[in-house]
Subunit: 229 residues, 2 copies
């Protein structure tokens, strides 16, 4: 698949040479890493009884060890039933709607990484702690230092998968619609991109939180809204 | 799986009876429909050569016909190779980070629907038009009336799958962390939820858009930012 993607990039035709390709494949590690750094939820695909199951779960990446950690009991249960099976972990960022003059040229701007591999179930206590720290810090940097860390009993009840970051495919689409210079450009219709953004809103304290416990700076730093609370 | 989910809901223990369950399964059609109405991108899982492949793509729902339409050439290619295979379409909304006192109780608030079934490749011209309208209107309501509709040639180049909305599983997690009333509640740590929100930003006109073409009201209506532009 990696080779195929690469070929797609190379196959620039006369029609596309002088314009930006909206959809692109990439096998660049830097691009893969940037997509993985930009999120904390992935969609994990496993095969259960011959059929695919796609579940959302949280992940983290040890970039030094090139290891992806995926949290999830559902996946673990299926992997107990079918060990040593290949899984697919997909991380997607939706950047905007592409509204063209023609319905056919409509699309979505996105960045998506698909990581394939045979995961290991993490059982070693030290690696479980390490992986949990990685996943926790991906969601909320600073939280691992702040919160109470898992007990041995809690660790034993934690399901974590480790996947080598070796086989991955990156696909992105960006830029404006591309039917502006053909006959559709003469239709007098509006065309462009409607960006989709996401942000962390002001933190909502647990209703049972005792008075006098301040919002820690690392949580306040998560979102713009939090600065005003 | 539906039955299993339902059982999970019924199995309320003494520990959970008087508090809100953070994670819940549901088989309610209304909850499924609400999740499907809330998005336009799904993650489609197919099995290719025995391994799962999870690809993001756009979807739409004909709620009257209880039919999910999924756009995508990647999936179609794999389905040509392995016809009549079950796929899984997952739609997920991430609502927030749940920061508890203990790492173990951390989580994500989310709403997720998984739809299973054997899809049909839509080949009939009328249904292709119908399905494309459904998908387009899910992304940008009003756009089907506004944009140039597909020609016969464009329709022939469009890949659309139809999936009956019969077998589906809904999972949600909501509410504050749940370690406030145990020993961890005495740690003096902040705990709560950091909501994650998304919105459409101000539309960005195609750079080659001729002057004098106004932003149509249905595009302006997509986002708050658009009202000021």
């Amino acid at each position: 698949m990696s080779t195929q993607e690469q070929n797609q990039q190379l196959a620039v035709t006369d029609r596309t040479r002088h314009r930006r390709l909206r959809e692109q494949g990439s096998t660049e590690v830097a691009e893969l890493d940037a997509i993985l750094r930009g999120g904390f939820v992935c969609h994990l695909g496993v095969v259960v009884d011959g059929a695919p199951m796609v579940v959302p779960t949280v992940y983290g990446v040890d970039f030094d060890a090139r290891t992806l950690y995926v949290h999830g009991s559902v996946a673990s249960r299926s992997l107990v039933r079918a060990p040593a099976q290949t899984v697919c972990v997909t991380v997607t960022h939706i950047d905007g709607l592409v509204l063209a003059r023609s319905v056919f040229e409509h699309g979505v701007n996105y960045r998506s990484a698909m990581v394939y591999g045979v995961p290991r179930t993490v059982t070693d206590g030290d690696e479980l702690l390490h992986g949990l720290r990685i996943v926790t810090e991906r969601c909320a940097p600073g939280q691992w230092e702040y919160a109470r860390r898992p007990s041995r009993k809690e660790l034993a009840a934690t399901s974590l998968l480790a996947l080598p970051l070796t086989e991955a495919s990156v696909k992105t689409a960006s830029g404006p619609p591309q039917d502006g210079d053909g006959p559709d450009g003469e239709l007098g219709l509006w065309a462009g991109v409607v960006p989709l953004r996401s942000y962390f809103d002001a933190p909502e304290p647990d209703p049972v939180l005792p008075a006098g416990i301040a919002l820690p700076p690392h949580v306040a730093a998560l979102g713009a809204g939090s600065s005003g609370s």
